[in-house]
Symmetry: C3
Subunit: 272 residues, 3 copies
Amino acid sequence: MSLLGFEPRGVVAFFSDFGVRDHYVGVVKGRILKELEEWDGHSLEIKFIDITHEIPPQDVRKGALLLKFSYKYFPKGTIFLGIVDPGVGTERRALLIATPKYFFVGPDNGLFTFVLREQEPCYAYEIDVKKVIKFPYSSTFHGRDLFAPVVAKLLLREKIETFAKPIKKEKLVYLDFPYPLKIEEGFRLSIWYVDHFGNLITNFSKELADKPFEVWVNNKRVRLVSTYAEGREGEIVSLFGSEGLLEIAIKNGSAFEVLGYPEIEIRYSKGL
Amino acid sequence: MSLLGFEPRGVVAFFSDFGVRDHYVGVVKGRILKELEEWDGHSLEIKFIDITHEIPPQDVRKGALLLKFSYKYFPKGTIFLGIVDPGVGTERRALLIATPKYFFVGPDNGLFTFVLREQEPCYAYEIDVKKVIKFPYSSTFHGRDLFAPVVAKLLLREKIETFAKPIKKEKLVYLDFPYPLKIEEGFRLSIWYVDHFGNLITNFSKELADKPFEVWVNNKRVRLVSTYAEGREGEIVSLFGSEGLLEIAIKNGSAFEVLGYPEIEIRYSKGL
Amino acid sequence: MSLLGFEPRGVVAFFSDFGVRDHYVGVVKGRILKELEEWDGHSLEIKFIDITHEIPPQDVRKGALLLKFSYKYFPKGTIFLGIVDPGVGTERRALLIATPKYFFVGPDNGLFTFVLREQEPCYAYEIDVKKVIKFPYSSTFHGRDLFAPVVAKLLLREKIETFAKPIKKEKLVYLDFPYPLKIEEGFRLSIWYVDHFGNLITNFSKELADKPFEVWVNNKRVRLVSTYAEGREGEIVSLFGSEGLLEIAIKNGSAFEVLGYPEIEIRYSKGL
């Protein structure tokens, strides 16, 4: 910790596939507070911010994207607790990642792919389960019995080396999020994420656009606008959304309902 | 602010149509805390209370009603952040409303109709986007890039006049929530809101009932009771609900599932 | 309170059937803070933890189970506010339960069945509605008008005896959660709870297993594993879950979708 030269603040940003129908989310938070119980009473300075708990069950890719879209907007010292963990109870590693600004806690299954790629420096640690878990514990709910105590240890400013050991980043699990496919006259895009409004968020970022281009959806050209509202009622439009990625949208409607997962291409504009 | 003679407390009550599946809600909160980062460390005294984020996409009317049903129950100094914003990125105004008890932040599209009508005194300000937004910013996510920083400014007790200018309330956008329609022997009601339990909340308030009346649903008289439980299993009943408005309900069931949007009338009782 | 020798901390763990679409949850929290408004400004030390608000409407049994699965993981002093209240506004009692570790506030309809059975000592109080409720109030929203003020009184360390009177635990309402049915060669189980992942949580706990046994689902034997991931894709397995209860699960799938509510039996293993 001293290595990184900063002390964690009390913000815990939590995302998972636990859903909000069961007790899992509340119990993880309760457990973090309970771990701090015998501390000096300052545990109430901790602030939990839920990113979302409605990641589809076991959808690690979606979790990785949501984290990418979120973490840079949080204050220095935020601890991100991410639990989408189909391998819970198996040999999969439990991870702690530390950067000069943030901590990340969760399973080693690719959930932190973007963080590992985007943050430099970025230190990875394998959590020593035996030094954290108290018996009896559950092999199916590591959120409560393993990751919650780790978050508490960070909040209590325990030295990371006492419960985790450094691991080379190259050894970790990464998910593949490919760049847009280069085609003759431009790019073929993938849809990375469909949001609650039905907007289709692609893998094409502003930076890739080095010359004038057009956006084609299912072989029809669509307008590139700068706000959702610019479209006409029912018109399919494209725009660069809040993450700098190209989105396909419909004004006051759901592009996903109308289009599903359409073919989307970037085609360079032809000179006149 | 000094104008109003009070200092804001740290409660931020947040409602939106963002849903809870995506990262939007968490990111807005993260951004508010991040804005306070360089402050004196007291940012952790801020308490976020979610009213709901499940307003149907772009349903400004429902947002206005939810705020009406909620705001009076919050403590003095609460900052209400309301984002249902189909016009995001267009010329629609960004609003700040200040009353002696509360602040309200969000788009000028009618979301604050009831507040503007019910609170006196009530000061409206147009937010100067250029003085708030930092570049680069998104034209599709003003919750994160415009409204979150405004909330932070209020929490930091910055003078409103440094980032917003007064605007006459008459210039603002209002939604029309009409009174019940007067008919020969009473009123024809509108359904304003259907809640999670399937209760149909109408626009008929206790105060309008100046003489004895009966409640008729689809041309059948229903009983006026005082608690949901008073009904018999499956019986359609009416009662004045928690907001003082007449509701149609079914004991242990959903009136909405059984009736949809029925015709509801108030008919004055006839003397014998 | 002094009777119990501890002071409540500021954690309020809240669960209900209010859903997250309406304003009810936010308003209850707002009201608690508002009640503390004239206090000394420390109300911001209160931390709300939502367990869930998606208990199916009026499903008191599910509420009781969720509380059982949750409360032991919270820190000392936590106030549990539980509102699943089909009898709101009727003569049903309003309850306050105090143990050396926790407080519980809500209707007397069985919601606290497990707490009353598991916690010793455990003191029950009937809330004196007239000493708590302020006029005007709603007979349909006791969460806001009755239970929220009671939570505030606990946070303000008011003497319980000033707003509630002791009541014998035997007089309270209990729900029946029967043990597994003894059959000739083992037990026939009930399904207590289906979680968000589709896992079927039964009423068979580890402690009941005094000799080697097999798990049979719809008359087919299934493997007893120790983690969800141990199953093969699509295999029905059984395991002791995070609450120590036997669960039926499918790797990366939903047992509930495949099986609904199957017949589940424990059969003692036969010697060779």
